[in-house]
Amino acid sequence: MARMKFLCDAERCIECNGCVTACKQENDVPWGVNRRRVVTINDGVPGERSISVACMHCSDAPCMAVCPVDCFYRSEEGVVLHDKDLCIGCGYCFYACPFGAPQFPQAGAFGVRGKMDKCTFCAGGPEKDGSEDEFRKYGRNRLSEGKLPACAEMCSTKALLGGDGDVIAEIYRQRVTMRGKGSDVWGWGTAYGRPEAPRAPGGPGGGPAPGQPAQPAPGGKT
């Protein structure tokens, strides 16, 4: 089996926050901690795009690289998990993560930063599968029940896909072929649009497009 991955189709996400709610409900996530959230670019502007973001379970995870107590591990299925008994709540992983996935609940009377909490791909953690301890520390272990993460399975528009990377990539490929557009999952072009193609010199509104070099004269040196 390939690696477990998430994929969010920005063409389909309607910013309903159903994934966020499903995650909170399924894993009994405490107040103030969001393992998953929906980010919208150009909010309110026509053409706005939303994407659901959580831990992306990186193949070369920066959180693993910076953890001073080495509490992270990657499961056989490619899910990045951590041992909360070992975590010291230093926050290095939060600074290292490009997605802001690691979350820190407030603990104690003075709001001291608690142990790190993050998306587990609904795969629990290093406790006995389905045990009370596992649920209390890491949330539900749906993967051991043969299920997929609650956020992906609850997504009403199926914008958020989760599961075997090869399978969801194939689903996405078929989807793009059927609708004939939106092959960019997410990126600069999807979020901010592409630079305009340079217009023909002498044409309507002639001259180079902003940010484009001027066209060389015919026969001139290039």
Partner: protein, 77 residues
């Protein structure tokens, strides 16, 4: 007098036990091995019931379930 000696013996015994308990303290400093996972081992998702170690069955179930996200397959394209 005899009772006092009895209680003194008990008190001394309790005190000795408490002092000895300090010798049984576990080391509280973890020895980290740089670059290696230091936590508890985890078991694969197919180890426990209902799959009971049957990896192939688990993979097939998960793959089928993943296909439920494909509406073109669910409703027929």
């Amino acid at each position: 007098m005899k009772r006092l000696a009895h209680w003194a013996t008990i008190a001394c015994g309790a005190m000795a036990a408490m002092m000895l308990a300090g010798c049984g303290e576990r080391p509280q400093v973890i020895e980290y091995k740089q670059g290696k996972y230091q936590g508890k081992p985890d078991q694969p998702p197919y180890a426990a019931a209902p799959f009971n170690g049957n990896k192939d069955l688990w993979e097939r179930d998960v793959r089928n379930r993943t296909q439920n996200q494909n509406e073109y397959k669910r409703i027929g394209s």
